[in-house]
């Protein structure tokens, strides 16, 4: 049996998530040992044609060409792993989706110069079936390594969907919202980062997207208690995961209040 092969693909993104793979430094050579890195243009000129065992896909779909390209990736890949907020929720560039509002009454499309750009930025799962989604802006390299290991071993990767608060307490951090009156999205944001922001004395700003349970009405109430206006909460929900359904619905609901 041959080694499993790995391909890395890029769509609209900042490159940070695929850089996380190179950032695995001390494990990088082990990975190169365990899998054939068949297509990874950022790191290698060598290219092998598909099919690939695993494709890591970074970035969101923002052009018609990319919409075609991602289907081709699916055809050539046994497993597709979407990595990062762009690939799993459309990324910050999905803020453009909001421009599609009442103001622009009918068809919304780009000027001829930029005709190549779609009016929306959408996650990979809007276009093809995705096997695993790795959250984060950027992804956690620990989770990325775990996914590679899990796929090799045939186990379910350890990607908890509970909120950041769980990791925050495990890290022994004193909650910044309770002890500092600082607005924090941790209670509605999916864990995975290891509660970096609270550990650095700031509130979580939601870069891992919505947690499994999102009670934004209650959080909004608490933020108001802390003297933070609803507009600020709406802005917080509209960043790197603005188009994630739970955040999109929550921000719209608060705006409608």
């Amino acid at each position: 049996m041959g080694k499993p092969s790995l391909a890395v693909w890029k769509f609209a993104s900042c490159d940070g998530c695929q850089l996380s793979l190179l950032d695995l430094e001390d494990r990088l050579l082990d990975i190169a040992e365990a899998v054939d890195i068949a297509h990874f243009p950022e790191a290698s000129t060598a290219h092998a044609d598909g099919p690939y065992t695993v494709s890591l896909v970074e970035g969101s779909i923002t052009t018609p060409r990319d919409a075609d390209r991602i289907r081709a990736v699916r055809h050539q890949s046994e497993l597709v792993v979407a990595i990062g907020a762009c690939a799993t929720a459309g990324g910050i560039q999905a803020l453009r989706n909001l421009a599609d509002s009442d103001e622009f009454v009918r068809t919304v499309y780009a000027t001829p110069t930029y005709i190549d750009s779609l009016a929306t930025s959408t996650p990979i799962s809007d276009h093809i079936e995705v096997d695993i989604e790795l959250r984060g802006c950027p992804v956690s390299k620990i989770q990325l390594l775990d996914v590679v290991g899990a796929l090799l071993a045939g186990r379910k990767p350890d990607l908890p969907t509970y909120p950041v608060c769980i990791e925050c307490k495990a890290r022994g951090v004193s909650c910044v919202m309770v002890a500092g009156g600082i607005a924090c999205l941790g209670p509605i944001t999916q864990a995975g980062c290891g509660a970096i922001c609270p550990a650095y004395d700031r509130g979580c700003y939601g870069c891992f997207g919505p947690a499994e349970t999102v009670n934004v009405a209650s959080l909004a109430w608490q933020w108001r208690e802390l003297g933070i206006e609803d507009e600020a909460l709406v802005r917080s929900l509209r960043t790197f995961n603005t188009a994630a359904p739970a955040f999109a619905a929550a921000s719209a609901a608060i705006e409608d209040r």
Binding site: P160, C165, I166, S174, P187, T213, N215, S218, Q222
Partner: protein, 369 residues
């Protein structure tokens, strides 16, 4: 048998423990709150500060004096030290088609804690029952517990969310420690009027300068603690409570609480008795070695009750009900005591300040009224 230490002698105690290979932990101000942290000297402790706690609120204020233990429980508890958030259970090495299993090596760390409160000792005794009292034991916990050394400090100034007196777990410790002390202000200085809990405690104290207290000092220490019992910030009526909760699983109040509950799990993580864990299996990339870890989990997570293709407890109210009913009711049936020791952490560290000592009377009233 009892003893008195001066402040400098308390520091000697730290030195002696360190000489014996203990990692000494005590309450330290870190960022915005008090938590257990490793110390080399008592100078690093949270001296001269007092914590102000309330539902979803915590802040530190300066004290007029320089008491070392003039505060209540911090954000972390003994659980963090003896039942850490993640640890290995076993590792395996693969050789062709066979495996060799090794129980995870017991941690070499011997932990000594200075400043454990009576509610925390009660919580640890609950952990002893849960994790060591049954047919199967948590070997890692057992090893840490056996190696650990506890210096307890009685509470003389309970906080706003404390209700240990209701739970019968404080404010003074009556067991579960190696040494216990009451911090007393005497003639502008400080004295630590103490008692022995174990022979091990006695042997350590032998090596620290100390003297024997007179009856007045012992009396002062006692009355400071009993005064504290009457100054609790909160109370909870526990008589009939387990039965009430067990028979009101369909109470409308659960849904009301669920409107506010974030299901973030902070209460379970901060609680010194919550012990639920999940397992995590990992392997090296070449498949040659594997580890099986446990990690704190929470009954507020959806995956916790995943079964038959979906979570058993999908709604927030079902998850909140599970937590509270287990803690205050099911626990009694399972382990012979309440699962709550009245430390108030779940009240303070709930980001939206849900306080069951207020919710429960409201629930009972709703039935009566």
């Amino acid at each position: 048998m009892s003893f008195v230490l001066k402040r400098s002698e308390l520091d000697q105690l730290v030195t002696v423990l360190r000489e014996d290979g203990y990692q000494v932990y005590g309450p330290v101000v870190v960022d915005r709150a008090i938590r257990y942290r490793r110390i080399d000297s008592i100078d690093e402790l949270a001296i001269g500060v007092r914590d102000v706690q309330g539902p979803g609120r915590y802040s530190l204020v300066e004290r007029a004096d320089d008491a070392i233990f003039g505060h209540t429980v911090g954000v972390t508890s003994l659980k963090d030290l003896f039942f850490p958030p993640r640890r290995a259970v076993w590792t395996a090495a693969r050789d062709g088609d066979s495996y060799r299993f090794e129980p995870a090596a017991p941690t070499g760390a011997r932990v000594a804690v200075i400043g454990a409160r009576s509610c925390e000792l009660a919580a640890m005794s609950i952990h002893d029952t849960v994790l060591l009292g049954g047919e199967y034991v948590d070997a890692d916990y057992e090893a840490r517990r056996k190696a650990g050394f506890i210096v307890s400090i009685d509470c003389t100034e309970p906080g706003e969310v404390c209700f240990c007196a209701s739970m019968g777990t404080g404010p003074g410790a009556d067991g579960g420690f190696d040494l216990a002390m009451t911090e007393l202000r005497v003639d502008g200085g400080w004295e630590y009027v103490g008692r022995y809990g174990t022979q091990r405690g006695e042997a350590i104290l032998e090596r620290v300068e100390h003297r024997v207290p007179d009856q007045i000092e012992i009396g002062q220490a006692r009355s400071a603690v009993s005064a504290a019992a009457g100054a609790m910030g909160r109370e909870l009526t526990v008589t009939g409570l387990p039965e009430f909760l067990a028979s009101h699983r369909q109470h409308p109040s659960w849904a009301d609480i669920a409107d506010r509950c974030l299901a973030c799990g902070n209460c379970t993580q901060a609680c010194p008795t919550c012990f639920c864990v999940s397992t995590i299996d990992t392997s090296s990339l070449d498949g040659a070695t594997m580890t099986h870890d446990v990690r704190w989990d929470s009954c507020f997570s959806l995956d916790f009750s995943f079964m038959g293709g979906r979570p058993q407890r999908a709604s927030i109210d079902a998850r909140y009900r599970q937590w509270l009913t287990h803690k205050l009711s099911g626990w009694v049936e399972q382990f012979g005591s309440s699962g709550c020791v009245g430390c108030g952490r779940c009240i303070t560290w709930c980001p939206v300040g849900i306080d069951f000592t207020a919710e429960i009377p409201r629930m009972m009233e709703r039935i009566d009224g």
